[in-house]
């Protein structure tokens, strides 16, 4: 504990020492990390943007992402809203569309859980055996365990339905987490560190073999000089893993940063409830004369 402001000479010194301590520990563990990495099969893509066009020619890809306006905090009223966008593109053919689903959410509902379940429903709707479907997130959100059991169950059930539908329709499905805090590999090795950190020594454009976490498969792939990303997928996809992962790599090379799937960038762009849209909603609701006192009593 520090008995002064954080941004003071004393506070900054403390912060600096803390960061140096963490780096020191990481350096000490580096050897252990290298040992772990050497036990995992890693392959590498020889890829560039022209290669990406070749891989994606004629391939239909869908990106699903959602956004939300939380009740009260932004609205000043006892309702929020969720909007989920499915961005569909047929690469090489120049055709694309965006499909939306939106829902108003009551104050007493868990808006994050509603959003997740709507995102999973949108994924299910896009399963047509012809598309590759991408989701910006995990099919096994670690925080679900920390929630009220009925809400946690809602997360698990929604994801399970999407994974099941993928297997039934043989529609490849990827959950892409750019910055993952999962510890599956680390736990197996008895280390308390994030997997992405543990595998930070992976080479650029390399990816691990498919690994299992319960009923879910996952791998790590390094498409940027930063930490590797976690990619989750249903177990049935392990059979054609290499060719399916090519599509993920190609999508990343099409993205504006060359390191994050293009379809997810676009889905995010269309899903976001823009500032002007928020203002329009707030202004239109401003006329309904809702009582803030009433809202606080309801809470």
């Amino acid at each position: 504990m520090l008995e002064s402001k954080l941004v003071s000479s004393e506070g900054i010194e403390l912060f600096k020492n803390f960061v140096e301590e963490v780096y020191k520990k990481v350096e000490e563990q580096k050897k252990v990390f290298e040992d772990v990495l050497s036990t995992i099969n890693v392959k590498k893509f020889k890829a560039n943007r022209r290669w990406a066009l070749k891989v994606l020619r004629g391939v239909k890809v869908v990106g699903v992402d959602g956004s939300q306006i939380t009740p009260l905090r932004e609205f000043g009223i006892p309702a929020g809203a969720v909007q989920v966008a499915s961005y569909v593109v047929e690469h090489g053919l120049g055709s694309w569309e965006v499909r939306y689903v939106s829902k108003l959410v009551k104050l007493e509902e868990n808006i994050d859980a509603v959003r997740y379940s709507m995102e999973m429903q949108s994924i299910v709707k896009n399963m047509d055996s012809k598309s590759y479907v991408f989701y910006d997130g995990s099919f096994s959100p670690s925080f679900a365990k920390e929630l009220k059991p009925e809400i946690g169950r809602r997360y698990v059930e929604s994801a399970r339905k999407a994974l099941k539908k993928s297997e039934e329709t043989k529609t490849p499905l990827f959950g892409y987490t750019d910055r993952s805090y999962a510890k599956d590999i680390a736990k197996k090795c008895g280390i308390d560190v994030y997997d992405s950190f543990l595998l930070s020594g992976m080479e650029y454009m390399s990816y691990t073999e498919p690994l299992r976490s319960g009923e879910l498969s996952y791998c790590y792939a390094k498409f940027s000089p930063s930490l590797p990303s976690r990619i989750e997928f249903p177990c049935w996809m392990e059979k054609n893993f290499d060719s399916m992962l090519k599509v993920v790599c190609a999508e990343c090379l099409l993205g504006s940063t060359l390191a994050y799937p293009f379809v997810l960038e676009r889905a995010h762009k269309y899903a976001v409830i823009s500032e002007r849209e928020r203002r329009a909603i707030v202004e239109s609701i401003g006329h309904s004369n809702l009582s803030f006192k009433w809202i606080s009593k309801r809470r």
Partner: protein
């Protein structure tokens, strides 16, 4: 077409309107003063790929957004600014007639500000539209002559 941005004197509409056209958004009358295209996201994705490749593989990033800027015709009663999201439509002659009449008398109190803030051609196009509706109003003829003189004076300077 809908309003996407509002400031005190001006609002912006996503869509291609005609410069000089008089429009209505919510209860607000305005004249279109400019139409411009917002930069597409093309450059963000281009790199070594050419335009044809971008169009084929990332078709939505080459689409342009057209923004029409509209100057609010203030001074006529409650002609308050529109709200973001309000639909924008062309104004009929009948609506324009009603908008400019107070107790049966023709009025155009916004004209000074219009002249001060916008291109003179815009002011002229508003007057020409009004002339078609109020063909016997001498004040419109006087203003038109004044505008023509200003334009000529500007050209000769």
């Amino acid at each position: 077409m809908r309003v996407v941005r509002v400031t005190d004197k001006v609002f912006e509409v996503e869509g291609n309107l005609k410069v000089g056209e008089i429009v209505k958004a919510g209860e607000c009358f305005a004249v279109v003063v400019s139409v411009s295209e917002e930069e597409p996201e093309y450059m963000k994705y281009a790199g070594e790929l050419n335009r044809e490749e971008i169009e084929a593989y990332m078709p939505d990033v080459v689409e342009k957004t057209v923004i029409s800027k509209c100057f609010v015709l203030r001074g006529m009663g409650e002609n308050t600014s529109p709200k973001v999201g309000d639909e924008v439509r062309e104004v009929s002659d009948e609506e324009l007639r009603e908008f400019h009449l107070r107790n049966g008398e023709f009025r155009i109190p916004y004209f000074y500000n219009l002249l001060k803030s916008c291109d003179i051609e815009i002011a002229k196009s508003v007057l020409l539209r009004l002339k078609r509706i109020f063909d016997k109003e001498e004040i419109i003829d006087i203003l038109l002559k004044e505008v023509d003189y200003m334009m000529l004076h500007h050209m000769l300077r």
